[in-house]
């Protein structure tokens, strides 16, 4: 199976504290890969490295291309959400999601100022696409509300919608299930399955192990910056090393 994403020997330390210790793992194309591990294991750092918000030693291969030195805004095809929801204050749901489609915006400052036809066309295309995403995630009725005014579950969906607006090949969800009600959780599961069915690969950070069992095809376990397991979900969750990492015992 081909990997859409391969991280090799990623190393990050924050003033002597090692967050990622030469971590290597892959995300097989067309799957949901779950990245789990106890608090402080380096999961979010890992997301930041892949999305380009955090520099690191090591290599990141995405769709066969080394993107290690590519700046965040040029890493097209990668979409992500954040553990602590990162919305744009003062922007409506629809506007926020449209920011996700920024790369397809047409024209430079002058062309935009003069409202040239191709600028309008790009804007209409973005709007159509975003309306579709809002419908699919059942956010249409909130589209003119401030994103920050919505309940957490909806805010997470807004982030997901924003990530989708960038047409990702790989979508990374950072604890999207946390804080969701059972019905929202069930809905998220459906959404994830639908997205995978459309050909999007997924990398999810998740604490909810039951949810991981339900949606994930592939498992990566991090502990203190080390990848201590990569492989089948059931095997991983049964592995003594993984269990002891979660229970906090020294292995």
């Amino acid at each position: 199976m081909n990997n859409i994403l391969s991280v090799s020997n990623a190393f990050v330390s924050f003033g002597g504290v090692t967050a990622l210790n030469n971590a290597s793992f892959g995300v097989p194309s067309g799957t949901v890969t779950a990245l789990i591990g106890p608090n402080g294991a380096g999961k979010t750092t890992c997301f930041n490295v892949v999305s380009g918000l955090q520099g690191a030693r090591g290599r990141i291969i995405f769709e066969g291309r080394d993107i290690s030195k590519v700046s965040a805004h040029r890493r097209s095809g990668l979409g992500r959400t954040f553990q602590i929801v990162q919305l744009f204050g003062g922007m409506t749901v629809k506007e926020s999601v449209m920011v996700g489609a920024h790369r397809r915006g047409g024209g430079n400052l002058v062309e935009v100022g003069l409202d040239l036809p191709r600028v309008r066309q790009a804007e209409t295309d973005i709007e159509d696409q975003v309306n579709g995403i809002l419908r699919r995630l059942e956010l249409v009725k909130f589209k003119d509300r401030l994103a920050s005014d919505l309940p957490l579950g909806q805010q997470r969906l807004v982030e997901l919608a924003r990530a989708l607006a960038s047409d990702p090949k790989l979508l990374m969800l950072d604890e999207s299930a946390s804080g969701l009600s059972p019905s929202e959780l069930a809905n998220l599961e459906v959404v994830i399955r639908q997205l995978v069915a459309t050909g999007i690969s997924m990398l999810i950070v998740e604490h909810n192990i039951r949810f991981v069992r339900k949606v994930a095809d592939h498992l990566v376990v991090l502990n203190f910056g080390d990848v201590i397991f990569e492989g089948q979900v059931d095997r991983g969750l049964a592995s003594p090393a993984v269990i002891s990492a979660y229970l906090g015992k020294a292995s």
Partner: protein, 311 residues
């Protein structure tokens, strides 16, 4: 759909009413008020770019008096070679260029550090205006020609009013279009969450520098219009403190709205005229106003009006 249409119609009617007032104004107003109107227009041109830079992207500049001055001197010194119209264009272009070159590195700074760095820029420019031989220093440059088409000179308040109205309308239109575009959305996104904006594909550094350059270009153009209207400029016109007034205009009116820049320009053109006797305290008043607005009225007058509308 029907409701949306009628909403659009109301907006169109509002704009038509404002336009009509602006067209009738020179026939109804006294010379003094025409003069005010010219200055209001110049301030609008000066500040409307800051609505995008400061209001949308949250990038504070206390240095725009520097660009206002740069534009003024550029146009005055350049107009003998390229005509006054050419001088206006040169003023905008050079200000944009200086703005981009200065903004690109400096906009890595945030918040107060950025405010201080831009303030330093304003101070550097004001020292240059004072000390350079070219600018005439404190004595200044006088006898600056009015722009003209052949025999027709824009040398009266009424004529200049039409010119400034045209330019101001155009740059407000440009800025509103930019504000409503994907660039405007990116600016707002940068204003609250740079990291998330980056992930969404926004080239944060380059958009910030571009909008800084844009606002600098408008400030330069405003400076040029100012110089050829008052026909005399000296270093005193572009002191660093003037930048405080510029930010105050945007903040008082409502920084995140283009209407705010217009309301602020009106207010801070007219009010000081009635406080002439206390001119030496003007900076004190502006300073206090700025603090009060930042602390208690972050949305400015527009914010106040909108919150009243809701309740």
């Amino acid at each position: 759909m029907v409701r949306e249409l009628s909403k659009d119609k109301i907006v169109v009617l509002k704009y038509a009413a404002v336009l009509l007032m602006l067209l009738i104004f020179p026939f109804a107003a006294s010379r003094i008020w025409l003069n005010f109107a010219v200055f209001i227009g110049i301030y609008v041109i000066l500040t409307v770019g800051l609505t995008l830079l400061f209001g949308y992207a949250n990038q504070l500049s206390f240095g725009h008096a520097g660009f206002f001055g740069l534009g003024a001197y550029t146009s005055v010194l350049g107009s003998p070679y390229v005509s006054v119209w050419g001088g206006f264009i040169l003023a905008a272009l050079l200000s944009a260029l200086v703005g981009y070159s200065f903004g690109r590195p400096i906009l890595r700074l945030r918040g107060l550090s950025l405010g201080l760095a831009t303030m330093a820029f304003g101070q550097i420019m004001s020292v240059l205006f004072l000390e350079l031989h070219l600018t005439g220093g404190a004595i200044g440059l006088s006898g600056i020609p009015a722009p003209s088409f052949g025999e027709f000179q824009f040398d009266t308040a009424v004529r200049y009013y039409w010119l400034v109205l045209l330019v101001a309308t155009f740059v407000v239109y440009l800025s509103v279009r930019i504000g409503d575009s994907y660039i405007g959305r990116a600016l707002k996104a940068i204003g609250t969450n740079e990291g998330a904006a980056r992930v969404a594909g926004v080239d944060v550094e380059s958009i910030k520098a571009s909008i800084f350059a844009y606002s600098a270009a408008l400030a330069g153009l405003a400076g040029a219009l100012y110089a050829h209207y008052v026909t005399f400029v000296s270093a005193d016109s572009f002191r660093g403190e003037f930048s405080i007034l510029v930010i105050l205009i945007v903040a008082v009116g409502g920084r995140a709205s283009f209407l705010g820049a217009i309301l602020g320009s009106i207010l801070l053109t007219i009010v000081p005229q009635y406080l002439r006797e206390f001119q030496q305290y003007a900076m004190l008043l502006y300073g206090v106003m700025l603090v009060v607005v930042f602390m208690y009225l972050p949305g400015g007058l527009v914010g106040l009006l909108r919150s009243n509308e809701k309740s």
